[in-house]
Symmetry: C2
Subunit: 142 residues, 2 copies
DNA sequence: CGACATTAAATGCGCTTGCATTAGATGTGC
DNA sequence: GCACATCTAATGCAAGCGCATTTAATGTCG
């Protein structure tokens, strides 16, 4: 169904609903495809899962140590899942955890040199995968 | 960064990449939000998980019995995951499985009356959740 | 016909996730 | 100061997923 047909139908409620459902199917399809490809490519080439990469990416993007809490707002993971991702990254020496002096409940996560270079290696792979999947139908900037 | 700035930058490669990454973040965010809400609402109100609902929805949409294989192409699940979803649905008496006469390796999945009415109950809930999440920034029809 | 590759669906297994809870640190009110 | 609510991060636990494998049926080729 084309945009013209939708808007020309005269039934805005149906149009909205159809558009919403189409959007959901788009999101479902691309998410599945991208996640699957990222898991394979990042895993095979760089030994990283999508969540591990995303956490490294957020830290590199901010270019400073972050609190677990801050990361939690940016990555789409529950607090417990994030806690475990950080634990795996620490085990792999890609980040280090340190207690926060100001609030001793908090935990800072610092990226290590090894973490930084691993991220730099993996970044082109991630971009290539995403470009492969989204280049044809990106969302025109919200 | 605005669309104008992007297009005005003169570097189409960077623009493309930024658009692709923005699209990925859009997909990640909406997928997480929608999945979480669907899991909660469909689960609490109708005793269905998102995968269970999706499978019922595909069968209702086609309005006939489908082979596992056919469902596999439409649902974003691995063959093994789908096999288990169908097993759960059968346990809940929402579908029934039957061997295919033509190819006795194959399995047909039929929706039951109970499955049909459960789907009908759940559909408005699903639509409400999706509208809540996508009404503001749907994708203008690809 | 008979051995071997192929296909469909189910199952073993390990991993990641979210929910609920816990342990420890910090804030609040009397 | 002290009891109690709140907050942060970690952990026990069960559920769902994908990969690899298995079981059974079907094709294929000599």
């Amino acid at each position: 169904m084309s945009l013209h047909e939708i808007y020309g139908s005269g039934n805005l409620r149906d149009m909205d609903e159809q558009l919403v459902v189409d959007t959901w199917h788009y999101v479902l399809g691309r998410h599945a495809k991208a996640m699957c490809a990222l898991e394979r490519e990042l895993g095979d080439r760089h030994g990283l899962g999508p969540s591990e990469f995303e956490v490294l990416d957020r830290i590199v993007h901010h270019d400073r140590k972050l609190r677990i809490q801050e990361l939690c707002e940016e990555v789409h993971l529950s607090q417990s899942a994030l806690s475990r991702v950080v634990a795996r990254l620490e085990k792999a020496s890609l980040v280090s955890r340190g207690v926060c002096d100001a609030d001793r409940r908090g935990v800072f996560v610092c990226i290590t040199d090894e973490g930084r270079s691993r991220h730099a290696e993996a970044l082109p792979t991630q971009r290539a995968v995403l470009t492969e999947i989204f280049a044809d139908t990106p969302i025109p900037a919200h």
